[in-house]
């Protein structure tokens, strides 16, 4: 009897292992916790440790032509953990020479931060320009994206996307059919710098959408990432995005905003990095209803941060953030806070392209 049991397990266990490995299925789990505390009376910090995100991701080749991705995340929304599907798409880079296609639900392929999961960002919180134009994490939608590597001597990659546009940004509802769906185009270039490990990537982006009420939004922006490495060690990172947004309503009334952030990070050692981000934002069309004159306004933030990477699977970050908004010579908002972040990843994790 014992021999039969041992024989059964001996045959069964490798079989199970083979079926799992044979599928190529990769599973990644990521946890993102943030603690913040306000250092001035105007701070909107929550003074608590929030489970900001818990993400589970499955990805695997579906067959010889297609890859599949499913990612879902639970977020803390006012103390309640809300679970939502982030990505569910089929993609291929084998069907069309130099081309790749993606269909399903995914983060829109524009900008830098919008294409990277929040727990992989090099800083704790979204810059104001990203939060205002793309929400605190990013904009995802269901549709199709097509990319093509142009046949040029240097690297130029052009991608287009068309998604349903029923929702854009922060939404607790299903949205409604837009007058013009979300559409976007991105032209990206990459250049190797002095050594093969150093590089610079620049993206030029346009995104448009007209909602059911005929509010027509246009977004244009540039993103830039430059990295210098010493072997595998990151010695210097420069990351920046600048965006302009225009929204025209049915009567032709237009409002415009512009914003940018610049993040510099230096590697002090293999595991320790120090960086600082400068944010700027301006509402170009805010005007006083009584005098009908444009209200001069500007928002700034400076956020120095220290990052310790125990490994690529565990990251601890501590930082200060000081932001303020000035309007017609008066400071109308000021927020100073201290923040801590802990990110960990269990299992495999797909690499970012740069």
């Amino acid at each position: 009897m014992l021999k039969k049991i041992v024989l059964t397990f001996t045959l069964l266990i490798p079989g199970l292992a083979f079926s799992f490995d044979g599928s190529g299925l990769q599973i990644s789990l990521a946890g993102d916790m943030v603690y913040d505390t306000g250092l001035n009376s105007g701070s909107s910090a929550e003074d608590k440790l929030a489970m900001r995100g818990a993400e589970i991701m499955f990805y695997t080749p579906v067959d010889h032509n297609f890859d599949g991705v499913l990612s879902a995340a639970a977020h803390d929304e006012n103390g309640e953990t809300v679970f939502e599907l982030h990505e569910l798409y089929l993609s291929s880079n084998k069907l069309i020479p130099r081309g790749r296609v993606k269909a399903g639900q995914f983060f829109l392929g524009v900008g830098r931060l919008n294409q990277i999961h929040q727990h992989d960002w090099p800083f704790i919180r979204a810059p104001k320009v990203h939060e205002t134009f793309f929400d605190s994490e990013g904009v995802f939608d269901a549709g199709i994206e097509f990319g093509y590597l142009l046949p040029t001597d240097s690297y130029w990659d052009l991608s287009f996307g068309l998604t349903s546009g029923h929702r854009y940004g922060h939404a607790h509802t299903a949205g409604s059919k837009p007058s013009a769906p979300t559409h976007y185009v991105r032209l990206e270039t990459f250049k190797e710098l002095s050594a093969s490990t150093d590089g610079l990537k620049i993206g030029f982006n346009y995104l448009g959408r007209t909602d059911e009420q005929k509010n027509s939004m246009s977004l244009g922006g540039i993103d830039l990432v430059a990295k210098w490495r010493d072997g595998k060690r990151l010695t210097y990172l420069l990351q920046s995005e600048a965006w302009y947004r225009s929204v025209k309503d049915i009567n032709g009334d237009e409002n415009q905003q512009v914003g940018l952030y610049v993040f510099n990070q230096f590697g002090l050692s293999d595991s320790l990095l120090i960086g600082a981000r400068l944010d700027g934002f301006k509402d170009l069309s805010k005007r006083n209803s009584i005098t009908d004159k444009k209200i001069n306004n500007v928002s700034y933030a400076i956020s120095p941060e220290l990052t310790w990477k125990s490994s690529e699977f565990a990251t601890f970050r501590a930082g200060f953030s000081h932001s303020f908004t000035k309007e017609e010579g008066k400071t109308i908002e000021e927020d100073t806070r201290f923040e801590l972040q802990l990110v960990f990843i269990l299992g495999a994790h797909p690499a970012h392209n740069f």
């Binding site: 909107s44 929304e77 006012n78 205002t132 929702r167 854009y168 940004g169 922060h170 939404a171 607790h172 509802t173 299903a174 949205g175 409604s176 250049k191 710098l193 002095s194 610079l200 620049i202 909602d211 059911e212 009420q213 509010n215 830039l224 430059a226 420069l238 600048a242 929204v247 309503d249 049915i250 009567n251 009334d253 409002n255 415009q256 905003q257 301006k282 509402d283 069309s285 805010k286 005007r287 006083n288 209803s289 009584i290 005098t291 004159k293 444009k294 209200i295 001069n296 306004n297 500007v298 908004t325 000035k326 309007e327 017609e328 010579g329 008066k330 908002e333």
Partner: protein
């Protein structure tokens, strides 16, 4: 590295074209209200077409933002007031809050892009309706929460059922689910009033929202 230096040069040269005032948020006189301007309930207003009053105070980001408003109103029989939020400068394209006294109670009607719903609320002994109005117009479909001015300020989906808010457009079950869910949002950045202005005792806004739901 050379390319990066060129890019940074272009960025900084572009910044040099922007005036210092734009970069520092300096005073240009835009908020200098003429002496003797009309005020209602503590807020300066300008009369526009018909019986409409445009209030001072502009929403952030062209109206893609969240703000709170405080309203203290002495309702009277046969008197009616319509507040406009996130509307254009002609007080169109926004959300409307209609307040009136019906059968001794306050009737509060919310209208957004043709969707409309109302609740009735008993009035206190002094007959003054005191409301805190949180409008989250940076959602795909604007999220509106109405509370008693003194609180509590519950923003959960069940707050209308629990009696901890007067109204919540994200209450999807009885007692007041409303027609909400595909109603869109206001597309302007101004607020104002139309109707019998004698019902207004005190108003305040736009200020930072109470809820971040």
């Amino acid at each position: 590295m050379t390319m990066l230096i060129k890019i940074l040069l272009v960025i900084f040269s572009s910044l040099a074209l922007i005036s210092c005032d734009d970069l520092t948020g300096a005073d240009t006189g835009a908020n200098d209200i003429p002496a003797g301007a009309n005020a209602l309930g503590g807020v300066v207003y300008k009369k526009i077409s018909g019986n409409k009053l445009l209030f001072e105070g502009t929403m952030d980001n062209g109206g893609d933002s969240s703000h709170n408003f405080e309203l203290e109103l002495k309702l009277q029989d046969d008197k009616k007031g319509i507040f406009y939020f996130f509307a254009n400068d002609e007080l169109n394209q926004g959300m409307k809050l209609i307040v009136e006294k019906i059968g001794g109670n306050a009737k509060i009607t919310l209208q957004i892009n043709g969707f409309s719903h109302f609740v009735e609320k008993s009035l206190p002994a002094d007959g003054v309706l005191r409301l805190s109005f949180d409008a989250h117009n940076d959602h795909e479909d604007a999220h509106i929460l109405i509370w008693n001015l003194a609180g509590p300020f519950d923003d959960s989906e069940e707050c209308a059922f629990d009696g901890t808010c007067i109204y919540n457009t994200e209450s999807f079950t009885d007692p007041n689910p409303g027609p909400w869910g595909t109603h869109g949002k206001g597309s302007g950045s101004f607020w104002g009033f139309e109707g019998d202005k004698e019902i207004i005792l005190k108003i305040k806004g736009p200020v930072r929202p109470i809820s971040d739901a």
